[in-house]
C-alpha cells in the first residue's frame, strides 16, 4: 500500500509464458479422441435409443459451455472493477472465453434437432401440443408458443452466441494488441465497454438457461433459474481455471508470475461462489416447496422420485457442505495442490449439478438416474474437443498480458 514499496517486477515475453510443445500432443489426442468418442456415442445412441443420447449430449454440452461462460463473465468484470490482482491470470480466462466459439459449433446438433421439428429433447417442439384441435393439446405449452417455437428459438440461439463471441473476441483481441503496442488507452477503452458486456452477458446467459435447460420441462418456470445457472458457471470457471493454472505451472509455464497469492484469490472466489450457488439453489427450492403450486413442484417431484433424491442429496453435500468446509481455511486456499484437488472435486460436482437439471427429463421423468457409456463418451468427447480447441487458441500466445499497465501490481499481489 501507499507510495512505498512500489514493485518494479515485470514479465518478459519469452517461452516461460507460452505453452510448452508437449501440449500439442494433448491437443491432437483431444481432437481425434473427442471426434471418435462422439461418433461412438452416436452409434451407441442409434442402437440403444436416441433420446438418452440427446439428453446426455446436452448435459455435457451445457457443462463445458458453462465453464466458458464463466470466463465470458470474468473478463469484463475484471475490467469493470479495474481489478489489479487478476491481470496475471486474465489471459488464461480470455483464452477460456474463446471456447464459446467451439461450443457454438458443438451446438449445431441441438440446433438442427429443434429446427427440423424433432421433439425428443424439447417437448414443446411438438406441434400437437400447440394446435387446439389435437387430442394432445396442452394449454400451458400453447400459451408459451410465442416464446417457445422453433423459429424464435433459433433466432435467440444466434443472438446468444453472437453476444458471447463478440464479448470474448473483443476483449481478447484488444488485449493481444496491447501486448504488442503497449497502449495504455486500451485498458480504459476495455473498461468503458465492459459495463455493456456485463449487461449483455447477464441477459444472454439468463435466457439461454431458460431456453436450453428450463424449457426441457415446458410447464415449469423459475424466475431465479438464470441466476442459478450463472452461479454454476462462475463456480466451475474458477475451479477450472485453478486446475488449468496448476497444470500449466506443473509444466513450467508461468511458474514465476502466478504465486500462492493468486491461488488464494481464486480460492476465495471458489469459496464465495460455492456459498452463492447454495444460496441461490436453496432460494429456488424454498419458494417452490413453500408455495406448492403443481406447475412448479412437478419439477422437483421428478427430481425426488425414482432414485433422483440421492442425486439431490449428493448435490447438497457435494456441491455445498463438503467443499464449503473444505475451502474455508486460508491454508487450503494458499496451497495450490490442495486447492486444485478441491477444484477437481467441484468440477465433478458441477457435472452432477447439470446432470441433475437435465437428465430427470428423460422419458418424461420416469427414468431412474443412470450413468453409462454414452455419458462417458459425451463428456470425454466434448471435453476432448474443448481442451484441444483451448490449446489451439493458446498456442504461440503469451499467457500473460505482458504490457498491461496493472501487471506489476498483479505480480506483487499480497493478501492480508
Amino acid at each position: 500500500m501507499g507510495g512505498h514499496h512500489k514493485p518494479t517486477i515485470t514479465v518478459t515475453d519469452d517461452d516461460s509464458i507460452r505453452l510448452g510443445p508437449g501440449w500439442q500432443t494433448v491437443r491432437y489426442i483431444g481432437l481425434y479422441g473427442g471426434v471418435s468418442l462422439l461418433i461412438l456415442a452416436t452409434i451407441l445412441g442409434v442402437i440403444s435409443g436416441k433420446e438418452y443420447l440427446y439428453f446426455s449430449y446436452l448435459t455435457s454440452f451445457i457443462y463445458f459451455l458453462s465453464i466458458s461462460l464463466g470466463a465470458v463473465f470474468f473478463v469484463p468484470i475484471h475490467h469493470l472493477s479495474r481489478a489489479g490482482w487478476s491481470v496475471v491470470v486474465r489471459r488464461v480466462a480470455e483464452l477460456l472465453s474463446q471456447n464459446v466459439i467451439t461450443m457454438a459449433v458443438l451446438f449445431i446438433p441441438i440446433f438442427a434437432l429443434v429446427v427440423t421439428g424433432d421433439h425428443t429433447l424439447f417437448e414443446w417442439n411438438n406441434p400437437a401440443l400447440w394446435s387446439i384441435d389435437s387430442p394432445e393439446y396442452d394449454q400451458l405449452v400453447a400459451l408459451k408458443f410465442p416464446y417457445l417455437n422453433p423459429v424464435f428459438f433459433a433466432v435467440r440461439a444466434f443472438i446468444y452466441f453472437g453476444v458471447w463471441i463478440a464479448i470474448a473476441r473483443y476483449f481478447y483481441l484488444r488485449s493481444l494488441d496491447q501486448d504488442s503496442n503497449g497502449d495504455k488507452q486500451t485498458t480504459l477503452t476495455l473498461q468503458k465497454w465492459s459495463s455493456l458486456a456485463v449487461v449483455g452477458f447477464a441477459f444472454s446467459a439468463t435466457f439461454a438457461s431458460f431456453d436450453w435447460l428450463m424449457s426441457l420441462d415446458p410447464h415449469w418456470f423459475s424466475t431465479i433459474f438464470g441466476v442459478y445457472f450463472f452461479a454454476g458457471c462462475a463456480l466451475s470457471f474458477f475451479a477450472f481455471m485453478t486446475v488449468m493454472l496448476f497444470l500449466l505451472q506443473k509444466n513450467g509455464t508461468m511458474s514465476h508470475c502466478v504465486t500462492r497469492e493468486h491461488y488464494h484469490d481464486l480460492g476465495k472466489y471458489t469459496f464465495g461462489f460455492t456459498l452463492f450457488w447454495a444460496y441461490i439453489a436453496f432460494s429456488q427450492y424454498l419458494l417452490i416447496w413453500y408455495a406448492n403450486i403443481p406447475e412448479e413442484t412437478g419439477w422437483y417431484l421428478r427430481r425426488q422420485s425414482n432414485g433422483w433424491a440421492y442425486v439431490a442429496i449428493a448435490l447438497v453435500f457435494g456441491q455445498f457442505f463438503i467443499p464449503f468446509f473444505g475451502v474455508m481455511s486460508r491454508h487450503v486456499r494458499r496451497n495450490k495442490y490442495v486447492l486444485s484437488g478441491w477444484a477437481v472435486f467441484i468440477l465433478i460436482m458441477h457435472y452432477v449439478d447439470i446432470y441433475y437439471i437435465v437428465m430427470p427429463q428423460v422419458a418424461g421423468g420416469t427414468a431412474p438416474p443412470t450413468f453409462g457409456l454414452i455419458d462417458l463418451c459425451c463428456i470425454f468427447g466434448i471435453g476432448g474437443l474443448y481442451i484441444s480447441q483451448l490449446i489451439w487458441f493458446a498456442t504461440d500466445k503469451p499467457l500473460v498480458p505482458v504490457k498491461d499497465p496493472r501487471l506489476s501490481e498483479s505480480l506483487a499481489l499480497h493478501n492480508h
Binding site: M1, G2, H4, H5, D133, F282, Y285, L286, W289, Y290, N292, M328, R330, H414, H416
Partner: protein, 495 residues
C-alpha cells in the same frame, strides 16, 4: 527494574524509536525480533506489508472465534425453531410438517451470519484489548505523528530481554532512526473519581427498579385500568361494529338506545344496492310485491340457522299468490305450506337414501336469468375448472382429484374408511334439475359439498350453471341441435 519508583519520578515503562520511512522500520523490527524481544509493537500511519512477519506476530485466532460462534449461531437458530414450532407451540403452517427443515434454513442462515458478524466485531475488540481509554504512548508528543508521517517501534520494559542501557544503545544504532524516546508511566491516579463511582452505584440500583416493578406486577392482580403510555390511535371516539355506544369521557352515547349505528329501515333498499332476487337466489318470488330482497331485514333465528337468507319470502305471503306460469321444474305438486315450514331438504339423488318427497320445492328458475353468450360459457368453464373440478372432475363426472385421492387412500387399506364420490353431473337427476336448483346448490352446498356463495359472485355462479349445461350437452346433444353453419364447418374439418 533499575529505575527507582518514588512518586516524584515516574516509572519508565517502555522505549520508543522513531523512523522517517517504513523500510528502516521493517529492518529494525527484523533485528529486534532476531534479538529475541517479544513485547514489541510498531505504529505506522498506514498498514504495512510484512510487518507481521518482521515483528513475529502470531496469526490471529479470530477466524476460529468466528467459526465457533457461527456454528453456535446456526445451532441456536435450529433449536429455537425446533423448540418453538415443534415442541412448545406446535402449529401447522401451509400444510407443512411441524418441523420442516427447508422453512427453518433462512433463520439458521441469518443467525449464523449474525453471530459471525458479532464474533468478528467483538472478537476484534477483545483481541486488540479495546476499548482502551488511555495509552501512555499518547503522552509522548512526537507520537502524534504516528498517524501522519512517522513510523515507530515500541518495546515494553517488562520484556525478558530488556536491559536499560543495552536496548537503548541498540535502538540508537538503527539505520534511519530519528530519535529514541523513553516512555513513562502515566502519573495521574488511575482510581475512579468518587463522584463517578457513586453515580454508577445509583444508576445500578435504579436499573433494578423496573424489573422489580415488572416482577411484582406479574405476581399480583390489580383492579386499576391498564396503563396506556402511548395512546396514539389506541382509544378512539369511534364505535366499532357490534359494540355498544355508551357514555364515554363525558360525552353522551351516540343513540339513546345504546346502539352505535342505526339499522337499516326494514323494507327499504339503499341506492344502487338493488339486485334482481331471481339472480341472487335462483327462485322466482311468489308475489309481485315481495320481489325485492332486503338483506338487512331481520329474520327469525331458526331461519338464519337452517335456511338460506335469500329465501324468506315464502313465509310472509300465502303461496296462492305465486304466479301460475312458474311451475316447479320437477313437476312435483307444490305443497303449499304455511310460513314456518321446515327448511327444504336436498332433492334425493342417485346413491343417496330415498327421502320422502314431503317438502315443498321452491319455485326454481328454469333457465339461467342472465344473457348467455360464448363468453359466459368460457367464463363458466374457467370458474368451474377452478372451483368445481377438484371434486367433480374437469368433465363433471365426479372423478376429481379429491375423489381419486380418497379412493387411493381406501385402496391403501385404511380400514373403516368410506367415501361417497361427488355427484356425476351427467346423471339424469342432475340433468332434469332446473337451472335455479343447480344455482342454489352451488350457492349453499348440498350434503358434503360446501356452499360457494361467499366465494363466487352470482353472475359467475350462473356462468357455471351454463357451463354445466354445456357439459351435459356433450353427452345428450344430437347432431340436429348443431346450427347448420357450424355443422358445415365441422364437416370441412373432417370430423
Amino acid at each position: 527494574m533499575a529505575q527507582d519508583s518514588n512518586n516524584s519520578e515516574p516509572k519508565q515503562i517502555g522505549l520508543l524509536v522513531q523512523f522517517d520511512d517504513p523500510d528502516s522500520l521493517l529492518v529494525a523490527c527484523d533485528k529486534v525480533r532476531k534479538a529475541g524481544y517479544t513485547k514489541t509493537d510498531a505504529y505506522t500511519p498506514f498498514p504495512l506489508h510484512g510487518i507481521d512477519e518482521a515483528l513475529g506476530i502470531k496469526p490471529t485466532k479470530l477466524p476460529w472465534i468466528v467459526l465457533t460462534l457461527g456454528i453456535i449461531g446456526g445451532t441456536v437458530g435450529l433449536l429455537l425453531q425446533y423448540t418453538t414450532n415443534a415442541e412448545f407451540y406446535p402449529f401447522i403452517i401451509s400444510a407443512k410438517p411441524r418441523f420442516s427443515l427447508p422453512a427453518n434454513i433462512p433463520v439458521i442462515f441469518e443467525l449464523t451470519i449474525l453471530h459471525s458478524a458479532f464474533a468478528v466485531f467483538f472478537g476484534m475488540l477483545l483481541l486488540n484489548k479495546l476499548p482502551m481509554f488511555s495509552n501512555p504512548l499518547f503522552r509522548v508528543p512526537e507520537f502524534a505523528r504516528a498517524t501522519d508521517d512517522k513510523f515507530f517501534l515500541a518495546i515494553d520494559v517488562t520484556d525478558d530481554k530488556y536491559k536499560p542501557n543495552k536496548t537503548k544503545e541498540m535502538f540508537e544504532g538503527f539505520v534511519g532512526q530519528t530519535g529514541v524516546i523513553d516512555v513513562f508511566e502515566d502519573p495521574s491516579p488511575n482510581e475512579l473519581p468518587v463522584v463517578i463511582k457513586y453515580i454508577g452505584i445509583c444508576l445500578a440500583v435504579a436499573a433494578i427498579i423496573p424489573p422489580l416493578i415488572l416482577w411484582s406486577a406479574l405476581n399480583s392482580t390489580s383492579g386499576a385500568p391498564r396503563i396506556n403510555p402511548i395512546r396514539d390511535m389506541d382509544i378512539q371516539l369511534r364505535a366499532d361494529t357490534q359494540t355498544q355506544s355508551t357514555e364515554f369521557q363525558g360525552r353522551p352515547s351516540v343513540f339513546p338506545d345504546g346502539r352505535a349505528m342505526r339499522p337499516r329501515i326494514p323494507g327499504t333498499v339503499a341506492r344502487g344496492e338493488w339486485t334482481d332476487p331471481v339472480l341472487l337466489t335462483g327462485i322466482v318470488p311468489e308475489t309481485a310485491e315481495k320481489n325485492v330482497i332486503f338483506l338487512q331485514d331481520e329474520e327469525p333465528a331458526k331461519e338464519n340457522a337452517e335456511k338460506p337468507a335469500e329465501e324468506p319470502k315464502a313465509e310472509d305471503k300465502p303461496a296462492a299468490d305465486k304466479p301460475a306460469e312458474e311451475k316447479p321444474a320437477d313437476a312435483k305438486p307444490m305443497d303449499e305450506k304455511p310460513a314456518d315450514a321446515k327448511p327444504e331438504e336436498a332433492k334425493p339423488e342417485e346413491g343417496a337414501a330415498p327421502t320422502p318427497p314431503a317438502e315443498p320445492e321452491p319455485n326454481w328458475v328454469k333457465f339461467v336469468p342472465i344473457e348467455v353468450t360464448s363468453e359466459t360459457i368460457k367464463r363458466g368453464q374457467n370458474r368451474f375448472n377452478i372451483y368445481c373440478s377438484v371434486c367433480h372432475g374437469y368433465a363433471g363426472e365426479g372423478d376429481g382429484l379429491v375423489s381419486r385421492r380418497a379412493f387411493e387412500l381406501i385402496d391403501q387399506a385404511t380400514p373403516g374408511m368410506a367415501w361417497l364420490p361427488p355427484t356425476n353431473l351427467h346423471t339424469d337427476a342432475v340433468i332434469q334439475q332446473p337451472d335455479g336448483k343447480i344455482f342454489h346448490t352451488i350457492t349453499h352446498g348440498i350434503r358434503k359439498m360446501k356452499g360457494y356463495g361467499d366465494q363466487i359472485p352470482p353472475e359467475d355462479r350462473w356462468a357455471i350453471v351454463t357451463y354445466v349445461r354445456a357439459l351435459q350437452k356433450t353427452r345428450t346433444g344430437t347432431p340436429d341441435e348443431i346450427p347448420a353453419i357450424k355443422m358445415k364447418e365441422l364437416e370441412l374439418k373432417g370430423q
